[in-house]
């Protein structure tokens, strides 16, 4: 039985992985696909307008602002991230 078991384990080891690799790849891909898809279409526009408003008061870079959108169950989370410049450069 030892030999047979060994043989079988070898086969299992060789095959193990192809399905789990598939699952792992798909989970990453699907999560990525969904992120792009679930974003509301106004997001880019919103980002641009917020940037304009902030620039009225603080000189910030285009890259200094990021808007992200997430959905957790029924909750929608709109996250705004603005990196303000150093104190000296305020208007």
């Amino acid at each position: 039985m030892g030999l047979l078991q060994n043989f079988r384990n070898n086969i299992n080891q060789r095959n193990q992985g192809s399905a789990s690799v598939a699952k792992e790849r798909l989970q990453i891909l699907v999560a990525h696909d969904r992120m792009g898809r679930d974003q509301p279409s106004y997001l880019k526009h919103l980002e641009r307008e917020i940037l304009e408003v902030i620039r009225k008061y603080v000189p910030v870079d285009e890259e200094a602002i990021s808007v992200s959108y997430e959905q957790e169950g029924q909750q929608e989370i709109l996250e705004l991230n603005i990196i303000l410049p150093d104190h000296g450069s305020r208007l």
Partner: protein, 269 residues
């Protein structure tokens, strides 16, 4: 109130038409007035799978364009008088499938049937969009294979954003997942995504699992919906699927590996 059910997938060759024929026949056999509509303009095949290819006179686009009455284009199934088929056009331009035209034909079909099954073409082009646009329910068919699962996810996104229900802000399309060509032996060997894997990735419950089966090819060879092959595992799995669609709670069958000759002697892994 009649329901419009789209059979869709994104990916081609996963069993949409086989499923449309089986589900349509299954509903009709239970006494529901059912019509199966082929949306695959230019690549009409539902008629072949259902064995009525020599009875096609007029088609879906003839009706939309007013060249024929709906009753002239509908083909009544010879095995079940509750079942009708509306064939797709083999020659016309896909764009003839206008949104308004499709809507009018579906409305008329809803008046005389309990279920309108829309057999979608593969892809996410115009025909596929028209097939799912008016749907109340969607059966998304997928194989336990990476590209098919990814496309199913893509299609789920489209159903929830581009359909009439999504656009008019009413209750969204009810989505069901159907896993076809499932091979429990390969799942056991770690070579194939399992039911749980696919369910987890798409976060959608399974309405049925159709095992990989020789009966499917045999049935399409003969033009007989596989659900009529009651001896076959695939046929019975489709019957279960139809029952679940109608609200029945049945355990999944044919999802455990059959032990082979050697397996029986040495004990399963």
């Amino acid at each position: 109130m009649a329901r419009i059910v789209v059979i869709t997938s994104g990916k081609g060759g996963v069993g949409k038409t086989t499923t449309a024929a089986a589900v349509g026949m299954g509903l009709a056999l239970l006494g529901h007035r059912t019509v199966v509509v082929d949306f695959d303009v230019g690549l009409r095949n539902l008629d072949l799978i259902m064995g009525c290819e020599r009875r096609v006179v007029y088609d879906f686009i003839n009706v939309i364009q007013g060249d024929a009455k709906l009753n002239q284009a509908l083909i009544r199934d010879k095995r079940c008088d509750k079942l009708y088929i509306l064939p797709a056009s083999q020659t016309r331009d896909k764009d003839a499938l206008t949104k308004d035209g499709v809507g009018q034909v579906l409305d008329e079909l809803k008046r005389h049937h309990d279920y309108v099954i829309c057999d979608s073409p593969a892809g996410i082009e115009h025909g596929a969009m028209m097939a799912m646009y008016y749907a109340d329910d969607a059966i998304v068919v997928t194989n336990p294979e990476v590209s098919s699962v990814r496309d199913a996810d893509r299609m789920l996104g489209i159903l929830s954003s581009k359909s009439r229900r999504a656009e008019t802000d009413v209750e969204p399309i009810t989505e069901y997942l159907l896993l076809t060509r499932y091979s429990p032996e390969r799942v056991n060997r770690g070579e194939m995504l399992s039911i749980a894997d696919v369910q987890e990735i798409l976060s959608l419950p399974m309405i049925g699992v159709i095992p990989e089966s020789q009966a499917v090819l045999n049935a399409s060879n003969a033009g007989i919906p596989v659900i009529l092959d009651q001896q076959s595992d695939a046929g019975r799995a489709y019957q279960d699927t139809v029952s679940r669609y109608l609200g029945g709670e049945l355990p999944m069958r044919f999802i455990d590996a059959k032990k082979g000759f050697l397996g029986r002697i040495f004990g399963g892994a």
